[in-house]
């Protein structure tokens, strides 16, 4: 055998790091309206290209263009804008509350509001989401009480989860929002199981699974793909590619090659990428995938291309690992700005009304916060009972737990 050159380890690196100038020039973005809209029963092998493109509706001028446009009336869009603005305002207040020491932890959605807010509008009551910690828009757009969310964040006496869960790990069966786990990826296969159950029961409800770009590396992502494809489960599999997983960029989870959407191809699962900062595009793609699921055509994989403009959580400072200004350099813009511009262009919205709405929303959020703080915060006021700590481990408390509760003195 000939002399060989020594091998070396390839470790992918993001385009820029602290100190560098952000540069997204090799991120290929199709023009809005450019990508076709196939029939919902299109053969997966005929739309493979869509896993390497990006469905976009809103162009730079704020027009809705192309085959995915024209599905929502302006009233619905105004609601949508309000949902996103509310989520952003909610986040800002709660991050501040965390900074003030009123709770232990917080995670915001800055820059990603369109994904969960628009998606929710494509679902029906009774459908179930299996979310991560970064889809609270599903609750806001779904009409869940902000005060209840804050009660959870404060782990106070009115926390629907009795103080047991870390802030933002909401759960609301009624609002189609499965209990969030701290363990990444586990929900992805659970969503498939829920969808299988709906199919087994001859129901008409569908499930939606959610996962981050980084967490696609987890093994349960694979389990979900296998089960979804095998049983053609009525589930929409959503990957939210917000470019970062704490300090690691999305290329690390895929060797800087392929796309997350293309993971579907090995399973015969139709896969699309969508501009996650484009409310109309997210909604259109979600509706398409939901329709497929409801029609018995099985799973769809959607990669939402977006950007995590804030820190990973209240414990994180991204300036240690990513370039300053990356968020502003992000080429898909801000989801609220983009929808706002569209609505202004449609003539149903204006800068003034926007400013006014912002003030109204802030007021509403503040009022909710006040109401929630009456029920206590993590550090003061009414709190869940330590007695509750022993409940719900089982439906019925077994003798050893009853003894422990007694030992604990509660």
């Amino acid at each position: 055998m000939s002399e060989r050159k020594p091998l070396f380890l390839h470790v992918p690196e993001p385009g820029c790091r602290p100190g560098d100038t952000p540069d997204f020039s090799d991120f290929v973005i199709p023009r809005a309206g450019e990508v076709r809209c196939p029939a919902i029963d299109a053969a997966p092998e005929d739309i493979r290209d869509m896993a390497f493109s990006i469905v976009r509706v809103l162009n730079k001028e704020g027009e809705a263009v192309g085959p995915w446009a024209g599905r929502l009336d302006s009233e619905t869009l105004l609601h949508g804008l309000r949902h996103m603005m509310t989520l952003r305002s909610f986040d800002a207040r709660m991050l501040q509350a965390q900074r003030q020491g009123k709770t232990s932890f917080y995670m915001q959605h800055l820059g990603e509001e369109a994904v969960s807010c628009a998606y929710r509008m494509a679902l029906s009551d009774g459908d179930m989401n299996f979310p991560t910690y970064r889809q609270a828009g599903l609750l806001i757009a779904g009409g869940y009480s902000m005060t209840a969310m804050m009660n959870q964040i404060y782990s106070n006496a009115s926390d629907p989860l009795k103080g047991r869960q870390l802030p933002v790990m909401y759960s609301s069966r009624e609002h189609g929002f499965f209990s969030i786990s701290g363990n990444l990826g586990t929900q992805f296969i659970q969503a498939v199981g829920w969808a299988m159950a709906s199919a087994i029961a001859g129901d008409t409800k569908i499930a939606s699974a959610w996962i981050g770009d980084g967490a696609t590396a987890e093994s349960d992502f694979h389990a979900a793909m296998v089960f979804a494809s095998t049983y053609k489960a009525p589930v929409v599999l959503n990957v939210v590619n917000n470019q970062w997983a704490i300090s690691t960029f999305q290329g690390l989870a895929r060797g800087n090659a392929g796309t997350f959407a293309a993971r579907g191809h090995g399973f015969g699962i139709p896969a699309l990428r969508v501009d996650g900062n484009d409310y109309l595009a997210v909604h259109a793609v979600a509706a398409w995938a939901a329709e497929r699921a409801r029609s018995g055509l099985g799973p769809t994989l959607i990669e939402h291309v977006t950007y995590r403009a804030g820190g990973h959580s209240s414990s994180d400072d991204p300036s240690a690992y990513r370039a300053k200004g990356e968020a502003t350099a992000w080429p898909l813009g801000d989801p609220i700005d983009r929808l706002k511009r569209h609505l202004v262009r449609l003539g149903v919205w204006s800068e003034e009304r926007h400013a006014q709405a912002e003030a109204e929303i802030l007021d509403e959020v503040r009022n909710c916060q006040k109401a929630a703080e009456k029920n206590g915060t993590l550090v003061s006021g009414p709190a869940p009972s330590p007695k509750d700590m022993f409940e719900d481990v089982y439906a019925e408390m077994p003798p050893h737990l009853a003894r422990q509760r007694q030992e604990a003195g509660f």
Binding site: M128, N183, G193, M196, A197, D220, V226, Y394
Partner: protein
């Protein structure tokens, strides 16, 4: 015992539409141990089906189904292969009710053949029960005979919480007392081998006294119940053999009553010793019965090594080793 387990599935599926059964080779073929044979044919592919080889997927999908409102009963082909599903069991199934404050629950049964004695080597012989008894939110069941297997499985399927159901595979085809060199005995010759055809449940959380005795209490479950009985018989020891049946929650009352009476206790299991379930039993017995104990609680267990193939019978805690421990505890 296979027929009893199959029958429990059958009755549960008949009585409750929400019961669905799946696992690797569990559908068309009916399972490598045939515990689900015939169910697909009878109830359709919708309710009994083959699963891809992904244990995390099997349990994870089961959790989703249970959250929806079904009652999944899943099979892990061997207990040795449950570890890929461990995260879904520990982090998800066990805690779902708690973390959602009861909004979502997980009434699921996870069945798996456990234990050695069939020359299965290190990956077809393990007894991982202690890895589940440490997990709050789970129930853990180990039957030792067909009558119980059916009743306990029925109860497990009806239980509102996740149940780990460990089936000692060496008992599938007959009681086994550890005398591997003697002729094989069939269940039909055993009092607990004759199973009622109809519906019944055996409540979880209750032990059974298999052999009454006054001198020493033996705590055992699964295969080891038969080994303990044989050891006591052969040594002529007046041992009370308790079949725990459910490890979590544990029937401490029955244990306490017996040990307070006998003053001596031997704990037997096939799993490796260190941090095995026997440790918890020792801890509890000395906590509750300290002033009644006349000798240390003694453990007879598998050794702290992987389960070897050729040395299977040197590893297996047979009647000889249990017998020696009985004698020693009585003398000590």
């Amino acid at each position: 015992m296979i027929e009893a387990i199959r029958n429990a599935h059958d009755i549960a599926m008949e009585r409750d539409e929400r019961v669905v059964v799946f696992g690797e080779d569990a559908g068309y073929f009916g399972g490598v141990f045939r515990c689900t044979a015939g169910l697909q044919k009878k109830y359709g592919k919708n309710r009994c089906f083959d699963a891809p080889i992904n244990e995390s997927g099997i349990v994870g999908a089961g959790i989703g189904m249970a959250a929806y409102g079904l009652r999944p009963v899943v099979e892990i082909q061997f207990a040795d292969y449950v570890y890929p599903a461990y995260d879904q069991i520990v982090s998800e199934a066990a805690r779902l009710r708690y973390r959602s404050a009861g909004q979502f629950t997980c009434p699921m049964v996870i069945r798996m053949p456990t234990g050695g004695g069939i020359f299965g080597g290190q990956t077809h012989s393990q007894s991982p029960e202690a890895l589940f008894t440490h997990v709050s939110g789970l129930k853990v069941v180990v039957p030792s005979n067909p009558v119980d297997a059916k009743g306990l499985l029925m109860a497990a399927i009806e239980d509102p919480d996740p149940v780990i159901f460990l089936e000692p595979k060496r008992l599938y085809n007959g009681p086994f007392n550890g005398h591997h060199d003697r002729p094989i005995v069939a269940w039909k010759s055993h009092p607990m081998g004759e199973v009622d055809d109809g519906y019944y449940t055996t409540p979880l959380g209750r032990a059974a006294v298999r052999r009454a005795g006054g001198d020493v209490t033996v705590l055992a479950y699964g295969t080891m119940v038969h080994v303990a009985e044989a050891a006591a018989d052969e040594r002529g020891v007046d041992a009370e053999v308790i079949d725990l049946r459910t490890l979590l929650p544990l029937d401490m009352e029955t244990i306490e009553t017996s040990v307070k009476k006998t003053g001596r206790c031997v704990v037997v299991h096939e799993a490796t010793r260190t941090s095995g379930f026997g440790a918890e039993l020792c801890a509890l017995v000395q906590e509750k019965c300290f002033f009644h104990l006349e000798a240390p609680v003694t453990r007879v267990t598998g050794w702290d090594t992987p389960y070897p193939h050729a040395q299977e019978w040197a590893y297996f805690p047979g009647p000889d080793r249990v017998g020696r421990a009985l004698t020693q505890v009585l003398e000590g």
